[in-house]
Symmetry: C2
Subunit: 318 residues, 2 copies
């Protein structure tokens, strides 16, 4: 619903002279607080794009498609849906990685990537400054909030039943394909004929587009975990030659927006909730093969994984 976006705009003192909030007829009239004032949500009508310079579009894919498919306006649209992400005319942007795509493409729509893609491409961009991995294998461990508010509520409800030792009723099992509390679900999104889940495809396709590397070899498995906020990635890169760990560490440390943990210090989803950085820990050579490195990434999927990245796009546009 864009509430995290509003919170981040406030926090970062984004120069908003006037704020207009749009939604469907159903939500019109609701009031949302911004900088101490209540702003009334309007139903989206004709010529909405004349009312502001930058629009954050935080709606379902179908709605985004309906509003934006023939968009010819002058205002910037930062769209968080997946509709335009793979459109070759639309830049798909993580500002720290590929801001040049906005300058290169003649598009007023800028697409915000998937919540798992964002931290992944940031780490990859840092690593690729040293050497390009021949293959990268990723297992993502994604929190319930990545599937939306109803999903997070379902996890919390399920956890109450688990804690009480009670059987879970049907209405506590509507969002996820399996029980998530005290469990893991090895499926995010829908399966294609090849057995790949849509989240795994997005991670590959979006990373290829953002990194401008159409043959990027990334092999992903995405798993939903009983965590509220924070997506974690277990990443293994295989290089053609041995790589220097110090050089990679230095490149990650100096990459904007990534925080490298010291020594054996761990980082967990609970610890990153509410934070802005992509956190990296457990960077190491594989002990039996110096062509292989491992790392562990954790990011607040609601902030850098979504709203913060959108706000950073807006900051760069301004």
């Amino acid at each position: 619903m864009g509430r995290t976006t509003l919170k981040i705009l406030e926090e970062r003192g984004f120069p908003v002279s006037e704020l207009a909030l749009f939604a469907s007829q159903r939500s019109a009239g609701e009031k949302i607080a911004f900088k101490g004032k209540d702003v009334e949500v309007m139903a989206i009508g004709d010529n909405w794009d004349l009312l502001a310079d930058i629009f954050f579009c935080s709606v379902d894919d179908d709605v985004a498609r309906g509003i934006l498919k023939d968009y010819k306006g002058e205002a910037w649209i930062i769209d968080k849906s997946k509709v335009f992400r793979m459109d070759p005319k639309v830049p798909l942007v993580v500002p720290e990685v590929n801001w040049d795509a906005v300058e290169r493409l003649d598009s007023k729509i800028v697409a915000n990537p998937n919540c798992t893609t964002i931290p992944f491409v940031m780490a990859m961009a840092a690593i690729r400054k040293v050497a390009r991995p021949e293959r990268t294998v990723v297992t993502s461990l994604q929190s319930a909030s990545g599937a939306g508010k109803a999903a997070l509520d379902e996890l919390r409800l399920q956890r109450e039943y688990v804690t009480a030792g009670e059987k879970m009723p049907e209405d506590a099992r509507e969002v996820f394909p399996e029980i998530l509390a005290a469990n893991l679900i090895p499926q995010i999104g829908s399966f294609s004929d090849t057995g790949e889940a849509s989240e795994e495809r997005k991670l590959r396709d979006e990373s290829r587009k953002i990194l401008g590397d159409e043959t990027l070899s990334i092999h992903a498995t995405c798993v939903r975990v009983p965590v509220e906020v924070g997506h974690s990635l277990s990443v293994t890169c295989v290089f053609q030659e041995e790589v220097g760990l110090k050089a990679i560490k230095k490149s990650i440390e100096s990459f904007p927006g990534i925080k490298m943990m010291e020594g054996d210090e761990l980082i967990t989803p609970l610890a990153v909730a509410g934070k802005d950085e992509v956190f990296c820990a457990r960077l190491r050579h594989d002990p039996v093969d110096k062509k292989v490195i491992h790392l562990w990434l954790v990011t607040d999927n609601l902030r850098k994984g979504a709203a913060l990245n959108a706000v950073q796009i807006a900051e760069s546009l301004v």
Copy 2:
């Protein structure tokens, strides 16, 4: 404590004519039910090995080392500690994979592998009948019970605080290095100088020994997850040539002790708790590289991951 071993011995009708239970002086006198009778635990003394034909040794590493280091007796010892696993004179056995090691080595001690190694080597043995992967990348997602009863109790206690929305006191944080409830901990065991965790090393070293392949390339990251029972593995195999998925599927399906899920059917830790098989789902080619396959394995770590494997060793000895 071996209670799951006793339960499985009962369930499978193992031919026990007499049962003797040993523990330290502290636990002596306790009574444990077996086949409807209470059996009193004895303090371990001299000549204990004359009292039975097969011993299941389910004690801490230090205790196992103390009791067994100069063992010269005639009784079989099935040891679940890690003390003898990498001893070249001691067979490390998953009966479905390498029973021949018991016949080949002149040892009365048989070591039971780590709970993550067991399902991994079973799947690898099935896959290697078709082709030997050049590299295998694994992220294991291991349940709290794999760290023992106190660890499982800690997860449950922590979950009560999370569900109640209350701050966690220090005494709910004694076993794990970080909060586990509603979180993930990317560390199992202790770190070496290379940054590898001991669980990751065990998975590689034990798999190499069991599969008899000293250059087996396995790159592991082990993560503790807020699940009670059931270890899951996200596995990616890279082959030198393209491999046929049907042949691999057939080999896994026909491998004893592995249950292959049909089509897109998922398998989760909650669903395998109490079951004997290693469950395999999401077997697929990587859509952009037919030299790569992915699979998802889930196993009850207290049964096939530990006690059941030990009982199967005993059954094979008998």
